[in-house]
C-alpha cells in the first residue's frame, strides 16, 4: 500500500509528464499517422534486409528519381502508378534479381478485387510496366514476392485483422514470405497464426526491442537469399 505522500508524488510525476508540450503533441497524433509510420518502419527494415543479403537499395521518388527529398510516404493506400505526389519506393537488386519495395499500394488479386498491401516486394519489370501504363500491379504470377500486414496496436490486439489478412493472401499467387507484423506481443495472435500455412507472425516488433528487429530482418534476408 502506498502512503498519501507517495500517491501525491506519483500523481505529480504523471502530470509533469503529460503536461510537457512534446507529450501533448504525441498524445494528440491521430492513430492513422502512427499506423503509417509503423508501415514505413517495416519498409525500412525490409530495405535493411536487402543490404544484409548483399543487395543494394536505392530510394526513389516517382517524380524526382533517386534520393528524393523529402521522402514522401503514402498517408493512405493508393495506386503504385500515382504521380500526384512524389511517392517513394525502394529499387533493389540482389545478384540477378531486380525488385522494388513499396508501402501502401493496391494490387489486383486473382479474383479481380483490389487489395491494399501495407508493405510489398514486387518484380521491377512489372512495377515499371504498371507505372508506364498507369495500371495496377498483379498479386499473381510471381509478380508479387512478399507481403507484410503491419499493425500498430493502440488497444489489446484481437484476431480480426489476422483473419482479414489470411483472406487477402488467399487471393494472391504463391508468395515467398507473408508476414503479419505488429508492435505488441499477443498470445491470442500467436496462437491464431500457429496453424500451418498461415502467415508468419512478427509480434512485438519495435525499435525498443533490438532482438525483434534482428529476427525480422534475418527472416527476410534468408528468404531473399533462398530466392536470389
Amino acid at each position: 500500500m502506498a502512503t498519501a505522500q507517495e500517491l501525491a508524488t506519483l500523481r505529480a510525476a504523471i502530470m509533469t509528464l503529460l503536461s510537457l508540450p512534446a507529450a501533448g503533441r504525441l498524445l494528440r497524433l491521430n492513430s492513422n499517422t502512427c499506423e503509417r509510420a509503423y508501415e514505413a518502419y517495416v519498409f525500412s527494415l525490409c530495405c535493411e534486409a536487402v543490404r544484409w543479403a548483399g543487395g543494394t537499395v536505392q530510394l526513389m521518388g516517382i517524380q524526382s528519381g533517386r534520393s528524393p527529398r523529402p521522402v514522401v510516404f503514402r498517408g493512405a493506400p493508393g495506386s503504385m502508378a500515382s504521380r500526384d505526389q512524389d511517392f517513394a519506393y525502394a529499387r533493389c537488386s540482389l545478384r540477378q534479381k531486380r525488385f522494388e519495395l513499396h508501402v501502401d499500394v493496391e494490387y489486383q488479386g486473382s479474383s479481380g478485387a483490389l487489395h491494399e498491401i501495407d508493405v510489398s516486394m514486387c518484380d521491377e519489370t512489372h512495377a515499371a510496366a504498371v507505372r508506364g501504363t498507369r495500371s495496377t500491379p498483379k498479386a499473381t504470377g510471381n509478380k508479387l514476392q512478399m507481403v507484410f500486414e503491419c499493425k500498430f496496436y493502440e488497444s489489446t490486439p484481437g484476431v480480426n485483422l489476422g483473419r482479414t489478412f489470411v483472406g487477402l493472401i488467399s487471393d494472391c499467387g504463391t508468395l515467398r514470405l507473408k508476414g503479419f507484423v505488429a508492435n505488441v506481443r499477443s498470445d491470442k495472435l500467436a496462437q491464431y497464426f500457429s496453424k500451418s500455412s498461415r502467415p508468419q507472425p512478427f509480434l512485438g516488433l519495435n525499435p525498443l526491442d533490438p532482438a525483434s528487429e534482428e529476427r525480422f530482418v534475418r527472416n527476410v534476408e534468408q528468404e531473399l537469399r533462398r530466392w536470389a
Partner: protein, 156 residues
C-alpha cells in the same frame, strides 16, 4: 532514486481516473479510445479442466480487467505514443539515411477536410523537447516499475 511503490487496486483506480481526466483535458481522444477498447475486450484467461469436468466446452473465458490491470494497459498505450512512436521516427531516419519525411495522399481521392488526418511530417512523430518526455517518463517508471513499461531499448 525514489522507492518503487506497490499500488492497491483502489489506489490504481484513483490514479487511472486522474490520468484519464488529464488525457481528456488535452484532447487525446484516440488514446482514450484505445484504453476504452482494451477495457471492452477484457482479459482472456484459460480455465482449468477441473472447472468444467467432463463437459465438452471451450476453456478460454473473458473477464473485466481490474483497476491495476487497467492502469497497466493505460501506461502501455502511453508507452506506445510517447516512447515507441518517436523511436520509430529515429529508426526510419537511420535505416533510410534520410532526415526529411512526410506522409501525403493522392488528392484526387481525398476531401480537403480529411487531409489533416492523413498527412503528417516526421517532426510530428519526433517533436522538439522529446528528451524531456523520456526523462519525465523514466521518473514515473521509477515510482511504479511494475506498471510502466521500460522506456529504453531492451538489450538481450
Amino acid at each position: 532514486m525514489p522507492d518503487a511503490m506497490n499500488l492497491l487496486s483502489d489506489e490504481a483506480g484513483t490514479i487511472l481516473g486522474s490520468l484519464l481526466e488529464h488525457l481528456s483535458r488535452h484532447e487525446a481522444r484516440e488514446v482514450i479510445d484505445g484504453i476504452d477498447e482494451s477495457r471492452r475486450l477484457g482479459i482472456e484467461e484459460r480455465m482449468g479442466k477441473e472447472e468444467v469436468g467432463s463437459r465438452n466446452v471451450g476453456l478460454v473465458r473473458r473477464r473485466p480487467p481490474t483497476d491495476l490491470e487497467m492502469l497497466r494497459m493505460a501506461f502501455e498505450r502511453l508507452h506506445q505514443r510517447l516512447i515507441v512512436v518517436p523511436a520509430l521516427a529515429r529508426s526510419l531516419q537511420r535505416y533510410l539515411g534520410a532526415r526529411e519525411m512526410v506522409w501525403r495522399v493522392d488528392r484526387e481521392f481525398v476531401l480537403e477536410d480529411r487531409l489533416p488526418a492523413l498527412e503528417a511530417k516526421i517532426d510530428d512523430l519526433l517533436p522538439d523537447g522529446i528528451e524531456n518526455v523520456l526523462m519525465a517518463y523514466e521518473q514515473v517508471r521509477e515510482l511504479i516499475p511494475d506498471i510502466v513499461p521500460p522506456g529504453k531499448a531492451e538489450r538481450a
